[in-house]
């Protein structure tokens, strides 16, 4: 902050160019805006809290609300079954603003309550208020239609209400459809970045310290009495969540943020719906300036006022971003310099400022913020945010538009027009500036070079954004969960019968990608037995597609299999298994490296320079036999010459000698091992078990060497 302030003072005193006053002042405004943003950001992140939930009360009455309008029944079904699977006693209600008789009938079949209303005033807030008057629970939980809770959701959140002043408990939003353009995923390197993680995993816990965490629309528990105290959910704004929270705090209540992923939901799948969502959030948040300004609302503490002002202020980033995008373009074409004298004193100060800013941001965000990705998303959103700001300033009526969560829509050129224009102008600026220097038209070589470089950086940023949002998406209706399950398969190919044990690469209730070590003929019917922990699903399917993978010397085949209509029980069982087991195991692979130094250290460690035996991430089916218990079929997480680690649905006793049979592309690897480590991933559900080899027969040693060798 000190370096930033020093830089700003220097800029104000020595760099205003009177020949380009408008450009200079705009540039300075953008830098000053950044200073305030960073200050407010740092304030919020002063001391993020990690809470340990107290035990839940024995006899709380809880109502679950699932507000819906026009979402697909298949999406609502998963949420309803996720809610009904929650262990703590509760009642589930579908709040249907679309007043659909077929949904009412389906809700009765599912065994959950159904509340509809004839009119649709105040959208979601009105819907919730309508239900508030018709249910009797002491607590209510709100889940959006695509938000599927884990079975322990209530057990982990209700305990906070032992404090009578607590009005609500909010949990993080976790998006599971990692194929959305909002994610940057590298499964092999264990890296996952999402635009929302910085907010939900760091900013909200930071705001919790200041008692300023806010209700984020879903995955939250409320004390009904607190809502009744403020007259129900706020209906004046389209972001009823923020507005309601401010009212709650102004009445002296407390809020809690429990920083543990307890539910999973869908991110907007395509740019069209993402823009709808962003516009709604931006408009709603900025409208707080006029409808319940946190600076002037009575009853809030100073830190709460700062935090909520930061929320509103944060949505004004569109203006400085536009300045940073347009300034180098204008500078190159018009030949005016926003900096009075582009000389060495300015260059070293600016360079120092940028280095400190980038390193400081990486440090302060504790591994959740990647500056280049954040810049990409501000470039993507700047136009919508400016649009929302103007709509807010001019008091245009905001409409609550539901974000569609079904199959993604194709995007058009209009959706990326602002970014395209900026990109084309930036690259034109690079060419124009280069030509000016080549033909000796511009005398300020350093200034023009800096402008060209800046244009190039902006152009590449825009290109990266356009590339990301326009990539082809899977035309599947539902997202496929990335995870490995053991699957027994058998099919008849003419006179030949093919059977085996493989693992899934991804799966959902409509089909799987099966990794097998024998080729499967396309178009044939196949019988499958999926091992879902202690339960099994037997079903039939069709091999739709098969390719030979490059790994393991081409002995691996990846086959797409479509289920032949699973029954309802099988569908629900598979869905819940995906949400409650596969998803947490998938998340387990990604670790947030808190500091740059630790990140570098871990890179070296992963390269194997300090490891005695290199581990290869490999998913293979493994059958574990124990003299006492029945054999269990699991999947490996990694393999090394000294042992393996497996995902298991039951914990194994430490030190016990077990028989292993790993099915590999090179044959069966049999060995004896001893369990050395048991790590819980999901309570009572999923464990990572480390097994050290004790005895390997000679016939299996060769297979093991081929498995762990570098060239696969």
């Amino acid at each position: 902050m000190g370096v930033y302030l020093y830089y700003l003072v220097y800029r104000f005193r020595y760099t205003i160019n009177p020949d380009a006053l408008v450009l200079s002042i705009s540039f300075l405004y953008a830098d000053v805006h950044g200073f305030f943003s960073i200050s407010l950001f740092a304030f919020q992140l002063w001391n993020p809290i990690e809470r340990k939930p107290p035990a839940p009360p024995a006899d709380a009455s809880v109502d679950i609300y699932i507000p819906t309008y026009n979402e697909d029944v298949s999406i609502i079904r998963k949420t309803v079954f996720g809610c009904m699977n929650m262990r703590y006693p509760h009642k589930t209600y579908i709040l249907d603003d679309g007043n659909r008789p077929e949904l009412a009938k389906t809700a009765a079949e599912w065994g959950c309550g159904y509340i509809a209303r004839k009119e649709r005033s105040h959208a979601k807030a009105g819907n919730l208020n309508h239900a508030l008057q018709r249910t009797n629970g002491e607590f209510l939980v709100i889940f959006d239609t695509d938000c599927v809770p884990q079975p322990d959701f209530l057990e982990r959140t209700l305990g906070y209400f032992q404090d009578n002043k607590v009005a609500f408990v909010q949990t993080p939003h976790n998006y599971y459809n990692v194929d959305s353009f909002q994610f940057r995923v590298n499964v092999e390197k264990g890296r996952l970045w999402s635009e929302q993680n910085l907010f939900y995993r760091l900013i909200m816990p930071g705001r919790d310290y200041w008692n300023s965490a806010f209700f984020a629309g879903t995955a939250a528990v409320f004390r009904k009495k607190a809502l009744q105290d403020i007259g129900g959910f706020a209906t004046e704004s389209i972001t009823e969540d923020l507005h309601t929270t401010i009212r709650i705090y102004s009445h002296g209540w407390k809020g809690v943020y429990h920083n543990e992923i307890l539910s999973n939901e869908l991110a907007a799948k395509d740019l069209k719906n993402y823009n709808v969502q962003t516009l709604r959030w931006a408009e709603g948040n900025m409208s707080m300036l006029y409808k319940g300004n946190p600076l002037f609302t009575k009853g809030l503490t100073i830190s709460q006022r700062i935090c909520f002002t930061s929320t509103v202020f944060g949505w004004l980033f569109g203006f400085p971003k536009l300045i940073y995008l347009l300034l180098p373009i204008i500078g190159v074409f018009i030949g005016l310099n926003p900096i009075k004298s582009f000389d060495f004193p300015f260059i070293w100060r600016c360079s120092l400022f940028l280095i400190v800013l980038i390193l400081g941001f990486e440090f302060i965000t504790r591994g959740y913020g990647k500056i280049i990705f954040c810049e990409c998303y501000t470039t993507l959103n700047f136009f919508n945010v400016i649009k929302a700001a103007f709509r807010s300033f001019f008091g245009l009526k905001s409409i609550f538009k539901v974000t569609k969560k079904s199959m993604g829509e194709s995007i058009s050129i209009q959706d990326i027009a602002p970014q395209l224009i900026i990109g084309l102008l930036s690259f034109a600026g690079v060419i124009w500036g280069g030509l000016k220097l080549y033909y000796d038209i511009h005398s300020n070589f350093k200034g023009m070079t800096a402008a060209i470089f800046w244009n190039m950086a902006n152009g590449l940023l825009v290109l990266s954004v356009i590339k990301k949002v326009t990539r082809p998406y899977y035309k599947r209706k539902e997202f496929r969960f990335i995870g490995a399950l053991p699957v027994q398969f058998s099919l008849e190919d003419g006179t030949e019968s093919i059977t085996g044990l493989g693992v899934t690469k991804d799966l959902n209730e409509y089909g799987i990608s099966l990794v097998a070590f024998t080729p499967l003929p396309v178009g044939k019917d196949i019988s499958l037995t999926l091992h879902l922990g202690q339960r099994f699903i037997s079903c039939k399917g069709t091999v739709v597609h098969a390719i030979q993978a490059d790994r393991f010397y081409g002995k691996v085949f990846v086959c797409s299999i479509r289920f032949d209509a699973l029954d309802d029980e099988g569908t629900d069982l598979l869905c819940m298994y995906c949400f409650n087991t596969v998803l947490p195991q998938f998340r387990y692979r990604f670790v947030v490296r808190r500091y740059v130094f630790l990140s570098l250290l871990s890179k070296l460690y992963r390269r194997g320079q300090f490891r005695k035996h290199v581990r290869r991430k490999t998913t293979l089916p493994v059958v574990i036999r124990n003299n006492v218990k029945a054999p269990i079929t699991l999947v490996t997480n990694d393999v090394s010459s000294s042992g393996i680690s497996v995902f298991s649905y039951v914990p194994l006793d430490l030190g016990v000698i077990i028989d292993l049979e790993v099915i590999t592309p090179f044959g069966k690897l049999t060995a004896k091992g001893a369990t050395k480590q048991v790590k819980e991933i999901v309570s009572w559900n999923s464990y990572l078990i480390g097994i050290q080899f004790v005895e390997i027969p000679d016939s299996s040693k060769d297979i093991l060497i081929r498995l762990v060798s570098k060239r696969q």
């Binding site: 020949d19 030949g335 005016l336 310099n337 194709s410 995007i411 058009s412 050129i413 084309l424 690259f427 034109a428 060419i431 124009w432 030509l435 000016k436 033909y439 000796d440 038209i441 511009h442 005398s443 300020n444 200034g447 023009m448 356009i466 590339k467 326009t470 990539r471």
Partner: protein
């Protein structure tokens, strides 16, 4: 093939980039045609055509020099000096001195030109300013 698929196509991007460069280059040639003509005259080994030089002079006198893009005006003054148009040289140098009064080289050249044209009082003023700056 829809527009989005088109902009993701590598060959389309390559061809578009070439066309885009060409369009920007053509536009640049149009906007800066005077400066580019002047550059050719300045660099040419043969004596410049006085008629062409005067045409460029009249066109450029109508524009205001940008403090960072004065090289063209400086070249214009040099070319005018080569075709012995001393009055025009003085007018150009006066214009430049107004835009960048701190540039000693231009002021000195203006002072010398004024002296050579026997405009001693005006020359003296500029010499005085130069001496005071030391």
């Amino acid at each position: 093939m829809n527009t989005i698929k088109l902009i993701r196509n590598k060959w389309f991007l390559l061809i578009f980039s070439i066309f885009f460069f060409g369009i920007v280059w053509c536009f640049f040639q149009l906007v800066y045609r005077n400066e580019l003509n002047l550059r050719d005259l300045y660099r040419g080994k043969k004596p410049p055509d006085p008629v062409k030089v005067m045409v460029l002079y009249r066109k450029m006198m109508r524009t205001k020099p940008n403090p960072h893009e004065m090289a063209s005006f400086y070249r214009l003054a040099k070319v005018l000096a080569r075709v012995e148009k001393r009055k025009e040289v003085i007018r150009i140098l006066r214009k430049l001195v107004r835009v960048v009064p701190m540039d000693k080289e231009i002021r000195l050249w203006l002072a010398v030109e004024l002296h050579n044209q026997k405009r001693y009082k005006e020359a003296e003023r500029h010499f005085q300013l130069l001496l005071n700056e030391r």
